[in-house]
């Protein structure tokens, strides 16, 4: 283990076997220390960035029914919905009034939505001052299927309409053993990687995510990180890595998982991802999934970004105050952790020192 520590201290890349040992048996505080070394090499300033954004889900109808999901509905369900382009435009306008930088837009895989809907959505929403950060590889795959177009052509159309960044969702765990159990109808790992490769080729920057804390083991996690590290070597198209822990309520998978993820599980994984993903610039602390306390501590375990300050989409004008006070709350948290808070764009350009 000491040799692995030394390798990391010299900023050398560790391989999968070394990664597996480090993740399984590395000392908790040592992982934090090593992750911090890399964090400060990449970002020497004591600054932590975050973004003010809104999360819009254009439909909750989804045909692939992943076992970890509490959001999807069947087509005929009473509370099934699909928003019209006009409704989406209105939502983004509301967000714009609140000073939101980016709209993160994702939806279920709804076979009834025509291809033009996606293209029109991007075109119309891109007319606002809010950056459109939309879709994920499973949605791109669906767009290809319904249009008969190649992934390359789908991205060309989306790009022409105004898309230039895409979230990294739908990755879950890029290990077939796990995917077959938790999301058998979702695109496989190879397809996810291929779609990301094409996005990066067309200069559409994306993030990479991982959902852990269910039935995966440490080998699956290392496999996941190894695959995105390899693609990043090839394309340099990932802007950040974000891990969040699986939430057990209201879904089938929750019944198969007995223990909740602990703060230590999360911080170990976060630090490990900072160490292993040596070619990623940014690692986000997921305060939204871990709570503000663990989110704050995560800034000492290798994270250089606090992720999103989500503005609630359904809160109207009075939310202006709420939004700004929440921005303050996150900024205060970053300050208390000993860092300078900085608002950023989706492309990690720094906008404002707070």
């Amino acid at each position: 283990m000491k040799e692995i520590y030394k390798k990391v201290e010299k900023f050398e890349r560790i391989n999968k076997e070394e990664g597996l040992r480090l993740l399984a048996d590395g000392d908790f505080l040592k992982l934090g220390e090593l992750a911090n070394r890399i964090r400060f090499k990449k970002h020497p300033k004591r600054e932590v960035t975050f973004i003010l954004d809104t999360n819009i889900n254009y439909t909750n109808v989804c045909s692939i029914k992943c076992s970890f999901c509490a959001f999807y509905r069947d087509k005929g369900a009473d509370d099934a919905y699909t928003l019209s382009i006009d409704e989406l435009v209105l939502k983004v306008k509301e967000a714009e009034l609140k000073g939101v930088e980016t709209a993160l837009i994702q939806g279920g895989l709804n076979d009834d939505i025509p291809y033009d809907y996606y293209i029109d959505m991007v075109r119309e929403l891109s007319k606002s001052n809010v950056h459109v950060h939309a879709f994920s590889p499973p949605e791109i795959d669906l767009m290809g299927k319904i249009s008969g177009k190649s992934i390359k052509e789908v991205f060309e159309d989306l790009k022409n309409a105004g898309l230039n960044t895409m979230p990294g969702g739908g990755a879950e765990i890029l290990s077939e053993r796990v995917r077959k159990k938790i999301s058998p109808k979702k695109i496989d790992s190879d397809r996810w990687i291929d779609i990301m490769r094409e996005a990066h080729k067309q200069n559409i920057k994306t993030t990479a995510t991982m959902m852990f804390g269910h039935i995966e083991n440490e080998e699956d996690i290392v496999e996941h990180l190894s695959r995105i590290r390899k693609l990043q070597d090839e394309t340099k198209g990932f802007s950040a890595f974000i891990a969040w822990d699986f939430k057990k309520e209201n879904n089938k998978l929750g019944k198969m998982v007995s223990k909740n993820t602990t703060g230590i599980d999360y911080l170990r994984l976060l630090a490990f991802s900072r160490i292993f993903l040596d070619n990623f610039d940014n690692i986000q602390a997921s305060w939204a999934s871990q709570g503000q306390d663990v989110g704050e501590v995560a800034l000492h375990f290798g994270a250089n970004d606090m992720g999103s300050m989500l503005v609630e989409e359904n809160v109207m004008r009075q939310a202006g105050f709420r939004a700004s006070s929440s921005v303050n709350a996150i900024a205060q948290l970053i300050k208390k952790a000993g860092f300078q808070p900085v608002l950023r764009t989706t492309k990690y350009e720094k906008i404002k020192y707070l």
Binding site: L29, K259, T262, I264, V294, V297, H300, A337, G338
Partner: protein, 358 residues
Amino acid sequence: MSLSVVEEKINAGEPLNFNDAKTVLESNNLIKIGEIARRVKFKKSSNKVYFVLNKHINYTNICVSKCKFCAFYRNGDEKDAYIMSVDEIVDEIAKVPKGIKEVHIVGGLHPTKDFSYYIDMIKAIRENFPDIDIKAFTAVEIDYFSKISTMSYSEVLKSLKDAGLNSMPGGGAEVFSQRVREKLYPNKIPYEKWSEVHKIAHSYGIPTNATLLFGHIETDDEIINHLLKLRNLQDESKGFLCFIPLSFHPDNTPLGLTIKKVDAVRELKILALSRLVLNNFPHIKAYWVMLSPKIGQIGLHFGADDIDGTIDVERITHAAGAKSPLGMAKDNMIHLIKNAGFVPIERDALYNELEIFQ
């Protein structure tokens, strides 16, 4: 000053002074602070982390002290003001599933109850539950009993010990600062009296704990002086078992409008600082009720070797807005400790090791 000076002293087994403690608090290197504190923890208790199957009893919420940081107290005429009879207390302990090893008893300073109530309470618990450790009454309550009974501290403590009390909690210390005391708890006893009660308890073979309430209006200097006072006191009387830093919960208190709950990085720093300064205290507790189970667990890597207990129903911190559960199952407690990489040890109030969970 840098942490390396602190580290050298700790490695050499030398006590930290005021300036060393200040260096720790002013450092941004949270991981390093934790690592040094954890080294001390390993020396004291190797890879063990203690927990206890316990039950909290708060016999009354009626209190004449009316501290400004407290959301628990009532004046007496409110609908939710209460005082438990001795029978009710015995019943409540009997209701807890078998196996608890410690009952932790603290309450308000009740305006009318005689000292005999407290003696009867301890006697009845001792008679009904001969094997349970009775950890009861803070120094503040002991001082109050002395007033209402016109007995000396020694006489009060001796009567309680004879009735069956065998250890005392560390509450009521708050921050040993005259400035803070005048502002937030002017009716509460000062350090001189708090320490006198603990010294006498120790001389009677009653071990006690000590606490610090932080995250309100206190300064770094006041925290450090508090810890140094406790270290000196322990050098003298040697009866402290455990130190517990308590993070202030402001909700429903008069301070709640202006003060937010202290952040987690600060909590971990204070925990580590306690382990580093209080070199003569056997144990440091990451009290999960106040820290939350998540931060409490992380605290085990910042010098703590104890996570407190199952509690059953916690009332005081929850009156002030604590988001943690009211109690914790034994299995969950064992899981948190193992998941952090330590060996769970079930203990009693006196830190006798009852069971090891490998």
